[in-house]
Symmetry: C2
Subunit: 207 residues, 2 copies
DNA sequence: CGAGAAATTCAACAGTCGCTGAAAACGAGT
DNA sequence: ACTCGTTTTCAGCGACTGTTGAATTTCTCG
């Protein structure tokens, strides 16, 4: 792809340099595909048509590259109001619709998928996932609904959302991947709505 | 731990040999902790108090060790009837109760967690997870319920179950880990019950 | 007791990984 | 034209990985 006649030679290439963003894009794809540990600096550099040392020059360490690549393309302060704004009714459906739309839109370079895949065996990624999905989005959504135990409700939602990502993208469950999106939005939307609004039974009042 | 005076010397140790099962136990713990890729043969051997070469002698390859370690301690043909037997009513709750009980009971050496953690970046593990959770358990449970699209319903259940494992064990969401088990059983149980029995809206009847 | 099978370790090979230091080629300012 | 900072590659180091072949000790059976 990036095999012009100047690439491969030593020293700076002529013209404007977009190698930094090319590295970031390649990193997002690789991290989303393989997770933090299995994605190698060498492979990312090769995808970007660049020497591995250049990656270290720009981002210092592999971890630094990971943090830079996970910088999310969307600001939670903008998306949360769009989900919460129209009111409690249909909240779960809007959240799931937004999530599935995001997955389709981001394609191979999906930071959320990269975080999920990396969280396994890389605690830093698990923390980043908690901070983004939990604190930045779901905690605010749950707080907007005026119900008891908003933090627990946010965690319940997170468990179903992460499960959707794992089942569709990682496990590749066939019926789930092939299912009509509107059906998934309605089914999962009702689940999220329940986790946000339904009364959480106390164990004493068992049924 | 396993530092008797005979260990470390060359050749066979005196007495009965339980090293094979010790290796399997250490492998389950390591695979559950770190996943297939990050768990090293050397670390597993060290935990078992054994030379890495002995692992290869018994199991051939790291993949062979993985397959042997994932041999599940429970037979699906025995557990599925216990869940389905009492009837449709309370099915979801029984399934979730069984799952959470299993997680507590297995402790650190949890093959399900090992499969989830390994599925990322190791397609063989993803296939094993699909075969065990999907085909061996959930497909049968969903088939016992007489509803349309049983395969899709099984996948929906799988997505929530995998999400529970990820959220509690991998992401370690604090409220979810601290929550009362009976509450989780009831909340998740209702979700599973819905996925198994509720009508799946058609996209044409979008309302 | 003697022989073969089993269990166990040692030492090492070949590959990959993240990372480093130096050198080369280019762009921009004076 | 000269200099300086930026971009880029090269070559390599040290650590770690799965795996192997041979050597050593013990057990088992006749």
């Amino acid at each position: 792809m990036t095999s012009s006649e100047t690439a491969g030679r030593r020293g700076r290439r002529p013209g404007d340099s977009q190698t930094r963003t090319a590295i970031l894009e390649a990193a997002r794809v690789r991290f989303a595909h393989d997770g933090f540990r299995a994605a190698t600096v060498r492979a990312i550099a090769a995808d970007a048509g660049v020497d591995p040392a250049l990656v270290m020059h720009y981002f210092g360490t592999k971890q630094g590259l990971f943090v830079a690549a996970m910088e999310f393309p969307l600001d939670p302060a903008q998306i949360v109001p769009r989900i919460v704004g129209p009111g409690i009714d249909g909240l779960g459906e809007r959240l799931v619709r937004f999530l599935l739309g995001l997955v389709d839109e981001l394609g191979e370079a999906n930071p959320m998928l990269a975080l999920v895949r990396s969280a396994v065996g890389h605690p830093d990624a698990a923390r980043m996932m908690r901070e983004f999905l939990g604190e930045a989005i779901l905690d605010r959504v749950a707080a907007a609904v005026d119900a008891d135990r908003p933090r627990l409700r946010a965690d319940l939602c997170a468990s179903q959302i992460v499960g959707i990502l794992m089942a569709r993208q990682v496990l590749a469950l066939p019926e789930l991947a092939a299912a009509d999106r509107e059906i998934l939005i309605q089914v999962y939307g009702r689940t999220i709505q329940r986790y946000l609004t339904e009364p959480l039974e106390s164990p004493a009042a068992s049924r």
